[in-house]
């Protein structure tokens, strides 16, 4: 691979646009693939298979060829509600896991830049904040305030938008009350059951980083079930 090509790939990664690298293993030539754009003759004959790899977000060698496809996909959007201590550790863990984190917290004293350097913090109530963040069934929500005023509207948004992962911090009792409130608000039991509450896998830990670890473990596990 040419150094100029490597630099181009790094630039593509930084811009967070989805792409693939296609390499002819027989001669070492490689190229950047983007959906809808044409490739050089060398690869154009395999366009259909390359498209397919890209669609399936798959890496691998195209059968009966020497063409290797490597796809780069956008990180999964994770919205954390509550710029609390646990969130600081979640941000640390998420760094190497292909998650893109946004934090929502209307309480200014929590959501300070000093506590969360280099991170997008939306200092608004969830209903307003979700107007700024595009979400869909590939998004995840981690509700950490256990304050119904803040968590509940976010949970409702996540249920309505069919987030693939929804978790809410709080004891069994807190969660029971939460479920009851959502039921009163008109949500069906099967919708409410989508919420992981109490959040996280059973790790036994109590400290903020331990709780963050149990949450991130559950999130990774659910991501692979998608």
């Amino acid at each position: 691979m040419k150094h100029s090509q490597l630099k181009e790939i790094i630039k593509k990664k930084a811009s967070k646009t989805e792409f693939a690298i296609v390499t002819n293993l027989a001669n070492g030539l490689s190229e950047i693939y983007e959906p809808g754009k044409s490739l050089s003759k060398e690869f154009e004959t395999h366009k259909e298979q390359i498209d397919n790899f890209f669609k399936l977000k798959k890496n691998g060698v195209i059968e009966k060829t020497e063409i290797f496809v490597e796809t780069y996909i956008r990180p999964i959007k994770v919205i954390i509600v509550g710029a609390v201590h646990i969130a600081q550790y979640l941000v640390d863990f998420a760094k190497s896991l292909n998650f893109e984190i946004s934090i929502i917290d209307p309480r200014g004293y929590f959501a300070s830049e000093q506590r969360f350097p280099d991170l997008k913090i939306i200092n608004k109530w969830p209903d307003e904040a979700f107007k700024e963040v595009e979400t869909n069934e590939n998004s995840a929500l981690i509700a950490l305030t256990h304050d119904p005023k803040i968590d509940d509207p976010a949970l409702q948004h996540a249920i309505n938008k069919k987030f693939y992962y929804i978790g809410a911090l709080g004891s069994k009792k807190t969660h029971e009350n939460r479920c009851k409130r959502l039921k009163d608000a008109g949500f069906k039991t099967e919708q409410i059951n989508l919420i992981h509450g109490p959040i996280g896998i059973k790790l036994g830990g109590r400290s903020a980083p331990e709780i963050a670890l149990s949450i991130i473990a559950q999130l990774v596990s659910e991501t692979y079930k998608k």
Partner: protein, 109 residues
């Protein structure tokens, strides 16, 4: 199986080149059976044998480093190597996982 924007191995390769090191990129292109790293996993190796990243759980890295140094010495652009339980080099380096992997080496030029 996909690559993450967060994985920084290519950026590290770029840093190495910018500090006048010669770099070979090693990428897992195929796996059979159980193997610890998925297709697309990478490591980088320089002419001195320093390396970063991984292509297995430590089973074949030393052999990959040797191959990468040779690639630089012989000034070849690329090479495909396979590690199978049955072949000699795998026996030597020991693919304890019982899997087989193919690794593609390419020099950044």
């Amino acid at each position: 199986m996909k690559n993450s924007f967060d994985e920084k191995i290519l950026e590290e390769a770029n840093d190495w080149i910018n500090t006048n090191q010669r770099v070979v990129l090693a990428t897992v292109i195929q796996t059979w059976g159980s193997s610890p790293r998925q297709v697309g996993s990478r490591m980088i190796v320089n002419e001195k044998g320093d390396f970063s990243g991984s292509v297995s759980g430590g089973c074949v890295e030393s052999a990959v480093v040797r191959e990468c140094i040779d690639l630089i010495k012989d000034n070849k652009p690329c090479k495909k190597i396979e590690f199978k339980v049955s072949n000699e080099s795998a026996w030597e380096v020991g693919l304890a996982c019982g899997g087989e992997i193919a690794v593609y080496l390419e020099q950044i030029i």
